[in-house]
Symmetry: C2
Subunit: 457 residues, 2 copies
């Protein structure tokens, strides 16, 4: 046979088995989003490159997948331009569209483009694939799904509280034990101010963001390399070493940052969020973590990150408050806050911890063995009754050997197989085999639906 | 303000309002697919161009969106090749991936690639966008969703019957009145044989496929242009003019095609399908239509098309049996049958006929007006109770003017608004406003959930 066809590296097929599990995750998350009034949005896979370029830094520009213009894409390129072989310049001439790199920029573009029709605060969720021309490696793909939930057009801290509630509810439903880490960009800014380097906020946050990964020594070294004096590093230390519960930490911080207006504002925001949470039933652990900075430079207030407690895996959800999401497209003063659920990592955690429910109503519950024409006709109309009661049911389409039909049920993970031959038709009794236990029993046809419903609870 | 950002022509944003309706269609279709044991599959947006090229004809090759290779895409192109400006040749050198053009070729690629893991018959559905660099016009987009359901690896006619059952069930649930047209490619081949042009099957079917659109005269003219003699056209006439019900037509056809083995085989297939259907409760009208050919040359048996009866719109679902889907990738003798639901057209029909349910459990059912901090705290914990009972509920996040909050509810289509101020907190009675009727009534807090459930039934 010819060589098997393949798919581009860094991309994946989602087989039915995987899809059922992924859908379980997405359906759970979506139903929680809806409980809180978030509505679905979808944007096109292709955006104009003018929308995408310059939004993710130089490195991001390179990682955008670009679409070759249709037709004679060289019509606008001169011979000398061709010979010059200036790749960025040529790219610009032969490609005007690219695949979206994340869901945030398309969302900002949507909000600005449709600002006159949108009723603010605008609460939306968006679950779509994104594409990055990254070097593929374990756990890093060129096509992967993002699952974002944001509210824009309101600077109320109730939105932060709501997102924490959503995190709590989602992970309770998925049965994943998590801790939510929270920080505030204004507090980080206050710290930079207090140690004497307000202009080096980004350097400081990028360095301390790595605390978890590389440890204190290496962070101190990085701070040195980024031009922070020993005195500054020393001043930073007690702040990173704060001990106690969230409230105690806030009390100590308020002292340390008493000279920084921005810092105090950040503490006040954190304080309010904790106050709201007190009146709510939240079962997950929430921890103030001053080393949490999440690289992204556009956060301006709360910063969130969620870690799975029973699996060695990075953050599975993260996000924060940004005061100028839409400024890049000319719409000022629209504040928003949002988080993103990492579907691939959540999938891995659930697989690893065996958290997917074994019986899912999305798969076939019963297969009827095909014994021939007369039995087919009988089964066909009986299947209609079962399906009318919401039971996913199949008749094997060919009169194949029993062994083959059983193997089909087994491989597809169908929990029950029904055998209806001539005797069964005459007696109205079906022979039902439980594929998991191997147990076989006779049951009246008119009781089969109830039996199946009982078994799948 | 700067110019508003925009999206590439031929693409669309799906706003929340549209998304809710689209999801209603997709959810309905998916739940029917699952009742019949079909499982979800997703393939990557990008496929290798070697997978896509040559599968859709020369025109199709041109309409593929091609991805520019990352990095220095000219490294493998010589100066003379550049100057030659041979677009197809250059494209081949600077692009190795393209966006999928339909779901059929990626499905065939998946089946061949994973043939050793798949348990046949393989029943899958796939709902994903496809991309075509077509000239955008009304109703024709460059990105649109396809919704395919296929079974491969079984040539049993029960599969055809099952697809008809699915069509019946889907359109009953969507409340769209439809007629299903059915034909068989072997019957068409038999006709070509009988009128003396077996080698002109494609010419004949392409021409008679247009019967509905351009009428008999124009079809005859086209047949002439395609080299069919007057005698052949005359012989064809009675066949296209057959009258009566499906069974009567089959009886007459069997006479006409008595000399064609292939033709008789097609009639036998149709006959069997009709026989199976007799034992089933099918409410839609099913009509044998010999003018149905559906251009696509790969159908080998049954051909289906579904028309909405109450809207002027082309076919909203179509498909058929193909005996050699996977041959293009080197796997012979895998027969399949499938249909594709046209999501955009179904959407248009339902919008036009006002068939979308007005109350959907996917949108917010109640908004709580925000009167200030104390009320917020009260509402927050009460909202948790409502959500625990599965009610989608929101608290307006800011203490904005009443008018603004009401306008928000109105614009978002939220059917109920609850007013809880200090009096209400003390008395445990909430003032509930029905946004549709304007009616306002007082109701006990602990009865609100029940009331809302009653209202949304």
């Amino acid at each position: 046979m010819a060589q098997l066809p393949s798919i581009p590296k860094g991309t994946r097929d989602y087989s039915p088995e995987i899809m059922v599990k992924r859908n379980y995750i997405f359906d759970t998350i979506k139903s929680v989003f809806r409980l809180y009034g978030y509505m679905p949005l979808e944007t096109p896979a292709m955006e104009n490159l003018s929308t995408l370029m310059g939004k993710y830094g130089d490195e991001g520009d390179k990682l955008l997948f670009k679409i070759l213009n249709s037709g004679n894409f060289l019509s606008d390129v001169s011979d000398s331009e061709l010979q010059e072989r200036n790749i960025p310049k040529l790219t610009n001439k032969i490609s005007e569209k690219g695949l979206r790199y994340d869901l945030t920029v398309p969302f900002a573009r949507f909000v600005v483009q449709h600002q006159s029709e949108i009723s603010f605060p605008f609460k939306r969720y968006q679950i779509q694939p994104v594409w990055r021309a990254d070097r593929p490696q374990k756990g890093r793909y060129r096509e992967f799904y993002q699952c974002d939930v944001d509210v824009v057009g309101s600077d109320s801290l109730l939105n932060e509280v709501e997102l924490i509630q959503i995190v709590n509810e989602v992970y309770q439903r998925l049965k994943i034990n998590v801790r939510l880490l929270i920080n505030n960009r204004k507090v980080l800014a206050g710290i930079a101010e207090i140690i004497g380097y307000p202009e080096k906020l980004t350097d400081i946050t990028v360095a301390i963001d790595k605390m978890d990964k590389i440890g204190r020594e290496a962070v101190q070294q990085e701070l040195r390399e980024r031009g922070i004096s020993e005195e500054g590093i020393l001043k930073l230390q007690p702040i990173l070493d704060l001990k106690g519960g969230n409230e105690e930490k806030l009390v100590q911080l308020r002292q340390v940052l008493s000279e920084s207006e921005t810092g105090l504002k950040g503490i006040e925001e954190l304080n309010q969020v904790f106050n709201y949470l007190k009146t709510l039933k939240i079962s997950i652990d929430i921890q103030l973590d001053l080393t949490l900075a999440r690289g992204l430079s556009y956060y301006t207030g709360a910063i969130f990150e969620v870690k799975a407690l029973d699996a060695e895996i990075g953050s599975i959800t993260g996000g924060g408050r940004y005061d100028d999401l839409t400024g890049i497209f000319g719409l000022k003063n629209v504040s928003g806050v949002g988080i993103s659920f990492g579907a691939d990592r959540i999938f891995d955690v659930m697989n690893q911890l065996n958290l997917f429910p074994s019986d899912s109503n999305t798969t076939t519950q019963i297969l009827f063995v095909n014994f021939g024409f007369r039995e087919e006709q009988f089964c066909l109309s009986y299947l209609q009754e079962l399906r009318n009661q919401g039971i996913n049911a199949e008749l094997y389409p060919d009169t194949a050997k029993m062994k083959k039909q059983m193997a089909y049920a087994d491989k597809k993970g169908i929990p029950f197989v029904a055998l209806i031959g001539e005797n069964e038709i005459n007696s109205g009794i079906v022979s039902l085999k439980n594929m998991l236990t191997g147990e076989q029993k006779n049951i009246k046809l008119n009781e089969l639906a109830e039996e199946l419903k009982k078994e799948t609870i």
